[in-house]
Amino acid sequence: MKNLLPISLRVNGETHDVLVPPWRTLLEVLREHLGLTGAKRSCQEGQCGTCTVLIDGKAVNSCLYLAVEAQGKDIQTIEGLATGGNLDQIQKSFVQKGGIQCGFCTPGFVLATKSLLNENPNPSEDDIRTAMVGHLCRCTGYVQIIEAIQDAASQLKHESGN
């Protein structure tokens, strides 16, 4: 039998107790044990960013993060971003500005934007490019993604009255 470890993860504000092999990545546990498939499995080696989740507000590649290490931390996945059925502003901007085509990269970009704007509500175009450099998108050529991020930043600024 496999060597299973009981771990406790706080995901999108809810605590989940699961029994997993210790080598399981956070991505695998989210997708296979918790049914949270919004984080996508692509390169599985930290090159593409489709598996991005937020840990304590910071974007990480969950394919490189062991689930055991995530205990005691605040994990947010794409499923936890919309509140009360309403899209978060970042999600809205991605939809409106054409930042989504096949959508496979979208959860990663949206969460990375969240993390960026947490730290820097006023990013320049260069800041955006640098922050997103770990995220591949094969469909859009990035232009409409960058425009979506700029739009989200300015809408959020507007909302908060700054």
Binding site: P21, R31, G35, T37, G38, A39, K40, R41, S42, C43, Q44, E45, Q47, C48, T50, T77, I78, E79, L81, A82, L87, Q91, K92, F94, V95, Q96, G98, I100, Q101, C102, G103, F104, C105, T106, P107, V110, E125, I128, R129, T130, M132, V133, H135, L136, C137, R138, C139, T140, G141, Y142, V143, Q144, I145, I146, E147
Partner: protein, 778 residues
């Protein structure tokens, strides 16, 4: 007819967010890997480590005995029927039986309770191979005595095409100027982020279902039935949300698909198989690497009189769609320039590499790289302005090309001018600082193709009693926005909102049969089918409403979810009331269908003559680069493109398509290549297979694309293709820009730093040695 420049439409022509965008933004769109079913098992594939070998023996007993393993299949579990795209090139088996022909070819598959166990079981399968001599280079593969990849392919030629249009020898003898250059392109991958994934189920009644991220589910449907040796009716293919395709394995049935259903048959459980990115980048389906020798004759003003193209394509171990690719590359010599006399000789050669097929811009990209690189040299030699030479040779509306393409709308001259103006070409060309340069490139593409097999599209519409429209087609949304543009077309005709239309994913049991998504055909072919289906539904609704309102159906217009009399606009009823009244009181259901077959013209694929597509799209672009002479690194600092996509139905999506195609071409031009040593891919990871990043595209203000708007009478609401043509001229533009920046011309792709650095060094040394001769790398 509406004036496209003054948009009189309610829906089409307006930037419209993608319908499935919300679901995708929420992370709730279901891709194949997201599917989970009760009792589902996980499959893995065992791949050949040899480029060419005979399979002597396979022993699966130890793998089968591993706890958690539920079934193992090998080639012998299948009926041994070869499948493939074209009848004459069916050479692929679900799993290899006695021979493997490239590293990565599938030889066995395992289903187990989880992926780790399945993976472990692969190590326990013993395969005894007898290695055979292998061949990797297509020219060597054609030499006498070369190892044969397939016994029935003489000299390893997998497909051979030769066309002659016009009087080529005569034209060359009249030419004032002739030059010949050789260009080489590299193996590049589709690079979609979603690896191939599927779930297969073979139930007790014999029904075989495959859920998978397919662009062309009906192609898969037929191939599955073929390779499994079962009746078509017992197979059902259900499309999941597609995480990017760009042709390739999502276009056809793959070994994983066969194995998933066969493992399910053996276990009685659904079986999921997902490729790793390592597998995706190792196995077949990629762009054909080509060696293109292009000889061009012109008059003294640079007017092209004749072209002779000899091409050798490294096809890899199997055919895929490669036979058609060879036709297509020759056909693409005919657009976007007037070439009155063309000779084309192409060979696709089997080698022991991963196999090649279609990829966005299918063969056109390679041809455009060669042609527009050479055109620049011709212009320079003849002292003709590089823009002027393109104008001089531009195809014009109303032309018929030498292979019989009938050119309708084709605002090529306008595209060129638009780019000159957007890019500031006149202020930049020859005037930029050292190591900065600007280059021009042009391309073109088809709006769907008339094929020998299945060409026509179909659509079905049901208008529901709440006034919503259920639209089903056999075309797929692969991210390009088919879900939205097809819904827009239906909404426009029926006078409803885009969000009133529900677009169905393909399910071969219920959606109408369709070739699928490729060749820029969906908006055009399926769009026309949807338009006709919607018009039929509108006619039915007008009859119902006419009866109810005591009005002449011909007098009724559809707008704002209402049916209104043109004669007296107080006479109106809501669309939904019409549907309800029709269904409840008269028993009439509003169910319609429409088809589009692009006329009954045919291509003669032996002579290459015939009008392939109902419409053609020209494009032009200029790109500005900065080259670091120390490292050879190229930075794209500006890009300006224009294309004639007809009337853009959804400008937001058209922008996404042209920019996406453009940036993909940046990657194919500058960074991407599969590095192979003796058939082994050395860089099967996104770490080493370099695709463009956010930092590789120009600043937003210097990255512009403009649509030259025309009205294509054959297209739905005037539309033409948008997703591929815009990328085709980009590679030559980059090569030309690098030349402008550095004075070195590279004829081999990718235009990578090492090559550029080496060529600059060589040029410098040659110049220092006082020699005058121009230097070309490789």
């Amino acid at each position: 007819m509406n004036d496209p420049l003054r948009n009189e439409y309610d829906v089409v022509g307006r930037p419209t967010p993608k319908k499935d965008g919300i679901l995708k933004a929420l992370g709730r769109a279901e891709y194949a890997d997201d599917i989970s079913m009760p009792g589902m098992l996980h499959g893995k594939l065992l791949r050949s480590p040899h480029p060419h070998a005979r399979i002597v023996r396979i022993d699966i007993s130890r793998a089968q005995a591993l706890p958690g393993v539920r079934a193992v299949v090998t080639g012998k579990d299948f009926p041994g029927v070869k499948y493939g795209n074209l009848p004459q090139t069916r050479d692929y088996l679900p799993l290899a039986i006695d021979t493997v022909r490239y590293i990565g070819e599938e030889v066995a598959a395992v289903a187990a309770i989880d992926e780790d166990t399945a993976e472990e079981a692969l190590d326990l399968i013993e395969v005894e191979y007898e290695p055979l001599a292998a061949v990797f280079d297509p020219e060597q593969a054609m030499l006498p005595g070369a190892p044969l990849v397939h016994d029935n392919a003489t000299a390893n030629v997998s497909a051979q095409v030769a066309f002659e249009f016009g009087e080529v020898d005569k034209a060359f003898s009249r030419a004032d100027y002739v030059r010949e250059d050789v260009y080489e392109t590299q193996p590049v991958k589709q690079g979609m982020l979603e690896p191939h994934a599927c779930v297969g189920q073979w139930d007790n009644s014999g029904k075989i279902t495959l859920w998978s991220c397919k662009m062309s589910p009906y192609v898969v449907w037929r191939q599955l039935a073929m390779g499994l040796g079962v009746e078509l009716g017992s197979v059902r293919v259900v499309q999941t949300v597609v995480g990017g395709g760009f042709s390739g394995g999502k276009q056809e049935a793959m070994p994983m698909d066969f194995c998933a259903v066969m493992l399910s048959r053996k276990t009685g459980r659904p079986v999921k198989i997902v490729h790793t990115m390592d597998e995706v980048l190792t196995i077949g389906h990629m762009r054909h690497p080509m060696k293109i020798s292009l000889r061009t004759g012109t008059d003294k003003n640079g007017r092209i009189l004749a072209q002779h193209c000899k091409m050798i394509a490294n096809g890899g171990a199997y055919s895929s769609i490669g036979g058609f690719s060879m036709y297509l590359a020759g056909a693409m010599l005919n657009i976007p320039y007037r070439i009155p006399n063309i000779r084309y000789e192409a060979k696709r050669v089997y080698t022991n590499n991963g196999f090649c097929g279609a990829l966005r811009g299918h063969t056109n990209t390679q041809i455009c790289f060669a042609r527009d690189s050479q055109l620049e040299l011709i212009a320079a030699d003849l002292g003709v302005d590089p823009i002027e030479i393109r104008h001089r040779n531009a195809l014009q509306p109303g032309d018929e090309t030498s292979n019989g393409f009938r050119i309708g709308t084709f605002a090529f001259d306008e595209c060129i001018d638009r780019v000159v103006q957007l890019s500031g070409w006149r202020e930049k060309r020859g005037k930029l600082p050292k190591y900065r340069g600007i280059g021009f490139g042009c391309g073109s593409h088809i709006s769907g193709a008339r094929l020998m097999g299945h060409s026509a599209s179909a659509a079905e519409i049901r208008v529901q009693e709440d006034g919503t429209v259920h639209l089903s087609t056999g075309s797929t949304d692969v991210g390009q926005g088919a879900d939205t543009v097809l819904s827009m077309i239906a909404a426009e005709v029926l006078g409803v909102e885009v969000n009133d239309v529900r677009f169905a994913l393909v399910d071969s049991d219920s959606t109408p049969v369709d070739p699928g998504t490729f060749g820029s055909r969906v908006t055009f072919f399926t769009g026309n089918a949807v338009k006709r289906a919607a018009e039929d539904a509108r006619r039915q609704l007008a009859e119902i409403a006419g009866q109810r309102m005591k009005a002449n159906p011909d007098d009724l217009v559809f707008r704002g979810r209402e049916i209104i009399s043109r004669r007296d606009d107080r006479q109106r009823m809501s669309l939904k009331d019409a549907v309800r009244w029709g269904a409840f009181q008269t028993g009439r259901l509003v169910i319609s269908h429409g088809t589009y077959a692009a006329g009954d013209e045919k291509i003669d694929f032996r002579t290459g003559h015939g009008n392939l597509s109902p419409a053609y799209n020209p494009s032009a672009c200029a790109v500005e680069v900065e080259v670091d002479p120390e490292t050879g690194q190229v930075k794209v600092v500006g890009f300006w493109g224009a294309d004639d996509s007809g009337f853009p139905l959804n400008p937001l999506a058209v922008k996404g398509q042209v920019i996406g195609a453009t940036v993909m071409s940046f990657g194919h031009a500058l960074y991407e290549t599969l590095v192979r040593i003796d058939g082994k891919v050395m860089n099967p990871s996104f770490r080493d297979y370099k695709m463009p990043l956010t930092t590789d595209v120009p600043k937003l203000t210097d990255f512009q694309h403009s649509n030259v708007i025309t009205w294509e009478p054959e297209g739905p609401f005037g539309a033409k293709e948008a997703g591929q043509g815009a990328g085709t001229g980009v590679i030559a533009a980059l090569a030309n820009a690098i030349y402008d920046a550095t004075g070195v011309r590279l004829n081999s792709l990718p235009l990578s730093p090492d090559r550029i650095r080496f060529a600059i060094k060589q040029k410098y040394e040659t110049e220092r040695a006082g020699k005058e001769s121009p230097v070309a790398a490789e």
